[in-house]
C-alpha cells in the first residue's frame, strides 16, 4: 500500500524552477531513500510534503490526503527531523522535547526517557549550549518518541558521531519493524545503502532514477581488480570497460553490468592470476549519474 505519492510535483521560486515534475512513491513499511546533491530539490520536495511550501503544480498526497490542505491532520501522523535544527536558546532540551510531544497531543512516555538515554543527551542543558549534533538529538528524540506512521527525515545525521549514527539506524529499523514508513533524505550514501529498501535520485528538480537498490545495480557497474599472466593490451578498448587504472601488475577497472559476461571471457584468455570484484556502491551509482552530464561517464 502506498502512503505517500507525488505526481509531477513542480515548484517555481520566481523564475527559478526548483522542481520540474517530481514523482516519488513511498510504500507502507518501507524505508525510502531520497538522494541528490545540494540544491537538487530534496528539501523543497520535503517541505511541500509537509505543507510549508505550496506546489506550483502537481500533487502531493500522504495517507490519501492533500499535503497542503490537510497539513494539520496529516502532521498528527508524521514526525519530521530537519538537517539544521535550531532551537529556542533559553529552553532546555528536555523542555523542547516535551513541547513537541505536547503539540502532537501526546503525553510524556517512558520511550522519551529511554531515547534520551540511548542518544546520550543531557536534557537539562539550555539549547543555546548545545552543539549541532546535540540539537539534532533533541529533534530525533522528539520524533522517535512520537507514535507517528510516517517519518520524514532530512539529512538527520549530518551532525552525529558514528556511535550516535548507529543508534539512529537502530531507531529507523525499529520503526520499520513496527510497519511504519520512513522517507530519508541523506548525503551519507553508506547509510542509505544500509537502511533503505528503495531509493530515488533527484537532479535539477527531476527524479532521474528510482527503484530498489538491487534493481538499480543492474544499471551500474561492477568494479574488478584483475591480474593476468599475459598483459591485457586491448583492455581499455573493450566495450563496457571504464576507468582503467594500472596498480602494479594488476588492473583496476569498472565494467557495465550488462557487458560483464563478454568482458570476463575476454580477460580469461590472458590467464587470470587474481580477480577481485566489488559490488557497485551507491556512491558509484550516484557519481555515474552526475558525471553523466559532462563526459561519457
Amino acid at each position: 500500500m502506498t502512503v505517500l505519492t507525488t505526481n509531477s510535483l513542480t515548484k517555481h521560486f520566481g523564475k527559478v524552477k526548483a522542481l520540474n515534475g517530481v514523482d516519488i512513491e513511498v510504500r507502507e513499511g518501507e524505508v525510502f531513500g531520497f538522494i541528490g546533491p545540494n540544491g537538487a530539490g530534496k528539501s523543497t520536495t520535503l517541505r511541500i510534503l509537509l505543507g510549508m511550501l505550496k506546489a506550483t503544480d502537481g500533487s502531493a498526497t500522504i495517507f490519501g490526503k492533500d499535503a497542503w490542505n490537510d497539513a494539520v491532520q496529516l502532521h498528527e501522523r508524521i514526525a519530521y527531523v530537519p538537517g539544521d535544527v535550531n532551537l529556542w536558546p533559553n529552553l532546555t532540551g528536555g523542555e523542547v522535547i516535551d513541547l513537541f510531544i505536547k503539540l502532537r497531543g501526546g503525553k510524556r512516555t517512558e520511550r522519551r526517557d529511554e531515547l534520551i538515554q540511548r542518544f546520550q543527551l543531557d536534557p537539562t542543558k539550555k539549547c543555546r549550549a548545545y552543539s549541532k549534533g546535540n540539537r539534532q538529538k533533541v529533534a530525533l528524540v522528539a520524533a522517535f518518541s512520537s507514535d507517528a506512521d510516517l517519518y520524514i527525515l532530512d539529512e538527520p545525521t549530518s551532525g552525529l558521531d558514528p556511535l550516535m549514527e548507529r543508534v539512529f539506524q537502530e531507531c529507523v529499523n525499529e520503526v520499520k519493524q513496527q510497519g511504519k514508513s520512513v522517507l530519508l533524505s541523506s548525503h551519507i550514501l553508506s547509510e542509505v545503502e544500509k537502511l533503505c529498501d528503495r531509493v530515488a535520485i533527484i537532479r535539477d528538480g527531476r527524479i532521474i532514477e528510482s527503484g530498489s537498490l538491487a534493481d538499480m545495480r543492474h544499471l551500474t557497474r561492477t568494479q574488478l581488480l584483475v591480474e593476468t599472466r599475459q598483459p591485457m593490451t586491448e583492455l581499455s578498448s573493450q566495450p563496457g570497460v571504464h576507468h582503467v587504472e594500472e596498480k602494479g601488475s594488476a588492473f583496476v577497472f569498472q565494467v557495465d553490468s550488462e557487458k560483464l559476461d563478454q568482458v570476463l571471457s575476454y580477460i580469461s584468455t590472458f590467464g587470470i592470476v587474481k580477480i577481485e570484484s566489488a559490488p557497485p556502491t551507491l556512491e558509484d551509482l550516484f557519481m555515474r549519474h552526475y558525471e553523466g552530464v559532462g563526459g561519457e561517464g
Binding site: 490542505n69 535544527v85 535550531n86 513541547l99 520524514i152
Partner: protein, 535 residues
C-alpha cells in the same frame, strides 16, 4: 478547515510567554515605575499651582510642541495634565519600540532561524505562530494599559483621576497594539528579522516626525500619524476616547492583513524579495574595517539620513521659536537670557545635547556589532586568520569614531541649514558646527566605556546603553526634575560646555578626552587577554 489554520495556538502562546517571561516583566515594570516616578516627581517638584502655571508658560512654544505634542489645558496646568502632556508621547514611542522588537523576534526572526519549520511540521496551524504572538502582545499591551492606569490611580494625586488614568493607560496600550499589528505585517513582507525591525523602526520614526511637523504647522498632517492621534486625547482635561478606538480599528485591519499574507505565502518567503548579491568581493571589503563597514552599510546610510532629517526637523521650528520668543515677554524673563546671546541660541544648546546623545546611539551600535559577531562565532573567522585582536577591535572602533563624528556633523548641518533658512536673524553655520563638535569627547567616553566592557565583561555591554539612557534622562530632563548637580555630572554629557552660551572650557574637554583614552586602552588590554567565544 478554517479552524485548522489556528491549531495549537494555545500551546504556542505558552511558548512565547515561557521564552519572554522575564523580558516582558522587565519591560512592563519599567513602564510602570517610570510613569510613577515622573508623576510623583511632578507633584513633589511643582506642588503649587503658580509653579505649574509658570511651567506651562515655558511649554507654549513650537519646539516643545514638536517634541511632546500640542499643549492643552494650560490655563489649569495640573500635575495630571503635566504628566500626560510631557510623558504620554515619549512613553508611547518606547511602547512602540518594545512591540516592534518583540513581535519581530517571535515571528520573522523565529522563522528565519528555522524554528517555525519545526513547529509547522507538527500538527499546528499555518497561522498559529502569528496568532499566538499577537495573542501574547495584545495581552501584554492590555495588561500594560491596566497596570499603568491602576498604578497612577493608586498614587492618589488629586488631578490624576480614574477616567484620565484609564485613558492614559489605554493610549499607551493601543499604540502598542498598533505597532504589534504593523510589525506582524512587516514580518510577512521582509525575509529577515532585521529587515522586519528596520521597517518597523522606520515607520515609527516617520510617524514621530510627521506628527512633529504636523503639530507645529498643520493639524491635518498630524492625522496621518498614529502618534498625532494619541496626543489629541487631551488626557486629564477633556478625555477624548476617539483616538483610542480609531487606533484600535486600524490595528485590527493590520492584523487581518498579516494573517491574510501569512496564509498565502510559502514558509521563509517574503513579499519583498531579497536580490542577488555580488559575485566577487570589491577591494573595499577586503580588510577588517572594510568588513565592519560593509556589514553595517544599510545601518550607516539609514542613520546618516535619519540624523540629518532629525537635525533639519528641529531646525524647522527655530523660526517659529524666534518669533515666539520675540512676542513673549514672560518667557524672556523666565529664561533670563545671558547678555549677547539670543534665546534661540540658548535653546540651541539643549538641542545639541539631544542630537549628540542620539548620534552616540549609532556610534555605539557600530562598535558593539563586534560583540554580536563574536557571539555568532564569526569574529573567530577573522582571528584564526592573520588578523590580530587589536586590529579587529581597532577596526570596529575606528568605524564607531568616524561614524559618530559623521552622524553629529550631519545633525548639526541639518539643524543649521534649515534653521538659518527659517530664521530672520541667522546664526553662523560655524557656530552650529562648533557647538555640536564640543560633544565629541563625551561621545568618546561612551565609546570608551563600551570598549572597556567589550574587553573585560562582554556580557555586560548593556551597561553602556543604560549609561547612555541615564545621560539622556539627567541632561535632557535635568531642568525639569531639578536634579542635583552631581547627578548630572555623573554623565560625560553633563561636562560639555554649552556653546555658544558658555565659553569653551578646554579643561573639561581635555579631561573627557583623557578619560576616554584611559577607558579605551584598558579595554584593548582586556580584549587581548580574554577568551573569544565561538569558532
Amino acid at each position: 478547515m478554517n479552524k485548522q489554520l489556528y491549531t495549537n495556538t494555545g500551546v504556542l502562546t505558552w511558548l512565547v510567554i515561557r521564552q519572554d517571561r522575564i523580558r516582558l516583566t522587565i519591560w512592563l515594570a519599567a513602564f510602570i515605575v517610570a510613569n510613577l516616578l515622573v508623576a510623583n516627581a511632578f507633584s513633589t517638584l511643582y506642588p503649587a499651582q503658580a509653579e505649574r502655571q509658570a511651567m506651562a508658560e515655558t511649554m507654549m512654544n513650537p519646539a516643545i510642541t514638536a517634541m511632546v505634542g500640542p499643549a492643552y489645558g494650560l490655563d489649569n496646568y495640573t500635575v495630571g495634565v503635566m504628566l500626560a502632556h510631557e510623558m504620554l508621547l515619549l512613553t508611547a514611542v518606547v511602547v512602540g519600540v518594545m512591540n516592534i522588537l518583540l513581535v519581530a523576534r517571535h515571528t520573522r526572526a523565529e522563522e528565519e532561524d528555522g524554528r517555525v519549520e519545526l513547529i509547522r511540521a507538527l500538527p499546528t496551524g499555518r497561522l498559529s505562530n502569528v496568532a499566538s504572538t499577537l495573542f501574547v502582545f495584545v495581552g501584554t499591551n492590555v495588561l500594560l494599559a491596566l497596570l499603568v492606569a491602576g498604578s497612577l490611580v493608586m498614587l492618589g494625586i488629586e488631578s490624576i483621576d480614574v477616567a484620565g488614568s484609564m485613558l492614559y493607560g489605554a493610549s499607551l496600550g493601543v499604540t502598542g497594539i498598533f505597532f504589534a499589528g504593523l510589525t506582524a505585517v512587516f514580518a510577512q513582507l521582509s525575509e529577515s528579522g532585521r529587515g522586519t525591525v528596520g521597517l518597523g523602526m522606520a515607520v515609527l520614526l516617520i510617524a514621530y516626525m510627521v506628527r512633529a511637523i504636523g503639530d507645529v504647522s498643520s493639524e491635518t498632517l498630524s492625522m496621518f500619524s498614529p502618534f498625532g492621534w494619541i496626543v489629541r486625547t487631551e488626557t486629564f482635561v477633556n478625555n477624548y476616547w476617539w483616538p483610542v478606538f480609531a487606533t484600535l480599528g486600524i490595528s485590527l485591519i493590520l492584523m487581518g492583513t498579516a494573517f491574510y499574507l501569512n496564509g498565502i505565502r510559502d514558509m521563509e518567503a517574503g513579499f519583498l524579495p531579497a536580490k542577488a548579491g555580488k559575485k566577487q568581493a570589491s577591494r573595499m571589503l577586503l580588510s577588517p574595517i572594510g568588513l565592519a563597514v560593509r556589514l553595517q552599510r544599510t545601518g550607516i546610510i539609514s542613520w546618516a539620513i535619519a540624523m540629518f532629517v532629525l537635525g533639519a526637523s528641529y531646525g524647522s521650528v527655530l523660526g517659529d521659536l524666534e518669533s515666539f520668543f520675540a512676542e513673549n515677554e514672560m518667557m524672556q524673563q523666565l529664561l533670563n537670557p545671558a547678555s549677547g546671546v539670543s534665546l534661540t541660541e540658548q535653546f540651541m544648546t539643549m538641542l545639541m545635547a539631544v542630537l549628540a546623545m542620539i548620534s552616540t546611539i549609532p556610534a555605539m551600535m557600530f562598535l558593539l556589532k563586534l560583540k554580536g559577531e563574536e557571539g555568532k562565532g564569526r569574529a573567530a573567522h577573522l582571528l584564526v586568520r592573520s588578523v590580530s585582536r587589536v586590529r579587529l577591535l581597532g577596526s570596529f572602533l575606528a568605524l564607531a569614531l568616524a561614524g559618530g563624528w559623521v552622524m553629529l556633523s550631519l545633525a548639526a548641518l541639518g539643524l543649521g541649514v534649515v534653521g538659518n533658512a527659517v530664521m530672520e536673524e541667522g546664526i553662523a553655520l560655524g557656530t552650529f558646527y562648533q557647538s555640536a563638535m564640543v560633544y565629541l569627547p563625551a561621545m568618546w567616553v561612551m565609546l570608551g566605556l563600551a570598549v572597556l566592557l567589550l574587553g573585560w565583561a562582554p556580557r555586560a555591554t548593556v551597561v553602556s546603553w543604560l549609561y547612555l539612557v541615564y545621560s539622556f534622562i539627567v541632561v535632557y530632563m535635568g531642568g525639569l526634575f531639578q536634579f542635583n548637580e552631581w547627578v548630572v555630572n555623573l554623565s560625560p554629557f553633563g561636562h560639555v560646555p554649552e556653546l555658544p552660551v558658555e565659553e569653551v572650557s578646554w579643561m573639561s574637554l581635555l579631561g573627557l578626552t583623557g578619560v576616554a583614552m584611559l577607558l579605551l586602552v584598558a579595554g584593548v588590554v582586556g580584549y587581548r587577554k580574554r577568551d573569544i567565544q565561538g569558532g
